[in-house]
Symmetry: C2
């Protein structure tokens, strides 16, 4: 089940920008709807100043594409739109064409959970330009956000050094789907559980929780509140100890822990949600151990992120489980991934491919043309570099990575390295080919892949830049196109 099939009822064909439909209409009027186009979805910079990104959002994107239909309601709405003179924007035969339309696009994509780098296509869409263009906005919406959160989660999980991280973000997430999609990406990115029941039901995540301050406030004393909770849920007691005084709360939890044990149950742990987590967790650990509860876990929360967790670890905090909410599900310091979807090749029916690039005064914004594939090279199990090459041209031999921003910065791939292409076929003429990884499999991939990369790309400050380069043939093609567009010969 997924956000799309499980939650959404209405057609989502209108989940796009107006201009996608006006461009579709203009193609229809120009007779160019059947021109075959290639668009690629990529980003230009890792989020959070990091050294890696985790691709996520593919399965919801594919479900979106498979369910894509304009309903009568959708078409009525489009028919109601007018231009600046009050006349309709679209004529009736065009709307009938939309009604009859079924997506016939080919989709190639990197599997969810793959570690990816700037300028590498995460998704490649090939098909009639009208169709390939129309799906730009929803693909970006679905992939940008989940990739952002999967990446954030992977960072937080790295900082936790093997301790479980629980996603607590529902109440501060950006809307209902902002929460559900974030939970999904957090699960794939490496969270061990969520506080959200619906995330548990939809994505198969374990769900975890403690109780609120209001539970404690609803009783004459904290001790009575803990006792009442233990009475009801003897096998699920993690007491939130900071409603009045955290260390007094720890002592109350210990008292109830003894009562639980006398009844044949075991205190699961305590939760600290404010104050000096480094000091309080160490003192709570000391008291729990001294009282005979060495296995009771200490859950820490309170606006945590990878930086605070790293810092608390450095200070020797004795936190066993990290509850991370707002800063994980929103991406906090960078709440959007700047993924884009760019035209890279085009041909008339039966014609030759014309490769496309967009110029910019900023070198980083000049796009790479072609029908791209990414080949990852590994040596003794370690990823050593990614080669972006054109599928029709094939890579030059021997494979050499050329930095598109500095043509003298190159890396030759050793002959003994093994290459693997990252983009795999997902849709052909609109129909599914192969099987998409589920959330659990994508989650395993993240950890497996991260282990293949040098530790330098995983640090938070000044991470190492993993080598990604253009193949010689693609680089030459890009140079020729850019020079020609700027009116120069090579």
């Amino acid at each position: 089940m997924s956000v799309l099939t499980g939650i959404y009822r209405s057609s989502l064909a209108l989940l796009t920008d107006l201009y996608q439909v006006t461009m579709a209409y203009a193609h229809w009027r120009a007779g160019t709807t059947r021109r075959e186009a290639v668009f690629q979805l990529f980003f230009r910079r890792h989020p959070f100043g990091g050294g890696f990104t985790v691709a996520c959002g593919l399965a919801p994107a594919v479900e979106f594409l498979e369910a894509f239909r304009f309903t009568t309601d959708d078409l009525d709405y489009l028919a109601s739109l007018t231009g600046n003179d009050g006349a309709p924007l679209f004529v009736e035969p065009f709307l009938r064409e939309l009604e009859a339309m079924r997506l016939e696009i080919d989709l190639d994509a990197v599997p969810e959970g793959t570690v990816v780098f700037p300028h590498e296509p995460l998704l490649r869409v090939r098909g009639p330009i009208l169709q390939a263009q129309l799906v730009e906005t929803p693909l970006l919406n679905l992939v940008n956000f989940q990739t952002l959160v999967a990446t954030k989660t992977a960072r937080v999980v790295l900082a936790a050094q093997g301790d479980p991280v629980i996603e607590f973000g529902l109440r501060r997430a950006q809307g209902i789907d902002g929460a559900l999609a974030a939970s999904r990406a957090a699960w794939i990115g490496g969270c061990a559980a969520s506080s959200s029941l619906l995330a548990g039901r939809l994505w198969g995540m374990p769900v975890r929780g403690t109780h609120a301050h209001s539970w404690v406030m609803a009783f004459p004393s904290e001790r009575e509140a803990f006792a009442a909770y233990a009475e009801a849920l003897p096998n699920n007691c993690i007491f939130l100890v900071d409603t009045y005084d955290s260390l007094a709360g720890v002592d109350h939890a210990i008292e109830i822990g003894h009562e639980l044990r006398a009844r044949g149950h075991e205190l699961v742990g305590i939760r600290l949600d404010s104050g000096d987590l480094a000091y309080l967790s160490a003192e709570a650990r000391r008291r729990l151990d001294a009282a005979g509860f060495p296995k009771a876990v200490i859950v820490g929360s309170n606006d945590l992120d990878e930086h605070l967790i790293e810092n608390l670890k450095l200070q020797g905090a004795r936190i066993d489980v990290w509850g991370v909410g707002t800063r994980l599900v929103t991406g906090w310091e960078e709440p959007a991934l700047g993924g884009v979807y760019k035209l890279t090749a085009l041909r008339a029916e039966g014609g030759e491919w014309e490769y496309k690039l967009k110029l910019s005064e900023q070198a980083i914004k000049v796009t790479n043309p072609g029908i791209q594939q990414v080949r990852r090279y590994r040596l003794a199990g370690e990823a050593i570099g990614d080669l972006i090459y054109d599928e029709l041209l094939g890579p030059a031999a021997p494979p050499t990575l050329i930095d598109p921003l500095d043509l003298t910065r190159r890396k030759r791939v050793p002959p003994e390295a093994e290459g693997e292409d990252l983009l795999t076929p997902v849709l052909r003429a609109g129909s599914r080919v192969g099987v998409l990884a589920g959330e659990a499999e994508a989650r395993k991939r993240v950890q497996r892949e991260l282990a293949e990369f040098h530790v330098g790309i995983k640090r938070f400050v000044n991470p190492h830049t993993y080598p990604v380069g253009l193949d010689q043939r693609l680089f030459d093609l890009r140079t020729d196109l850019a020079l020609a567009a700027r009116g120069f010969d090579r």
Copy 2:
């Protein structure tokens, strides 16, 4: 129509944290489910370092409450949850009680579009503690995010000084509902239109758009691309001019503008999406005017927010319409409002109210007890201060605002000031009373209310702090409770 009824099919009763259900269960086991509780939803600090906040998200929250039911599927899921010993968390009779449950809560709320301040309750829920507690998480999710975006939008619209602002955020928003809910809040907050068709259909927003770079790249030249677009959509031409060279693009737009005019149509405008918008817009304006297109608008976009718009205005940029996307729909520099939902009063059936507060080592985190109402005082049409008082105690006379963080900081309300209570009844015993404002009405309220406040609260740097205080009786009650909880007499 709304996000909830229009988009969501499945029950959303599980859209909550596990701990809400474990607390409900513990109340059920303790026999305290029918204790009457009051919870209040408020925030502690304006987002974005601003001086005001715009309340938003009430109508979706009410729809959520009205639709609230546990389905068989939901209960099956809850029945599958286990504790640390593998035994089920919940017993069957409790799940049957959830199945039979219909919300009987009273809800009072400030209307959407109201300008609000820290510590003022936006929503006040009164009812059986089990029910009032259970809805905490979804209420926070719905209200936190839409309030954040409505506030951000109001700021951007203030910066634009009357120029239309168009919301362009769908592709970078946090998931599908992150986009749709943001569009709704942007419409209420003051945006003139959205790029999103589904937002147009759901919220009645006007939709606007231009075309993408890929449109231009799909033709041999920019001029041909513009001509093809004008051929199809002669009444909707806003040409994106920066695919290759912005000023050359302006000249091409002018050429096509002449052709359009010859055919009886008028060029709507151009769009600048990169580069030095101050310089380029001034030069584009000069060229358009000189060519006889003084009415053609210039749309500016590219990671804009209130600060950049204010700055571009200061530089004399000649932009008529502002396209604002990522930084509006995500809140960017502060992507979550820290709204909380706190227990403030409780009584046993037929008993006396017991007022509740939560202590904290941080004074700002000590909550205000009571069944609160907010009275806004106006003098000659200007809002001069808000009084938070307890509805049962009533306000002391003459009304005096006492700063809870500094008891010597007070403001006496002049006798000629007119007071208006902000919280109005929405639900009684779970049923709707009165009519909720629609999006269009809430949108008008924002502008009407903002006009009532001193300009100082609306500036972006060091805004004036609008006076909000506790009533004397509520202040005394709070002081007594806090002293007692800390073991002191008054």
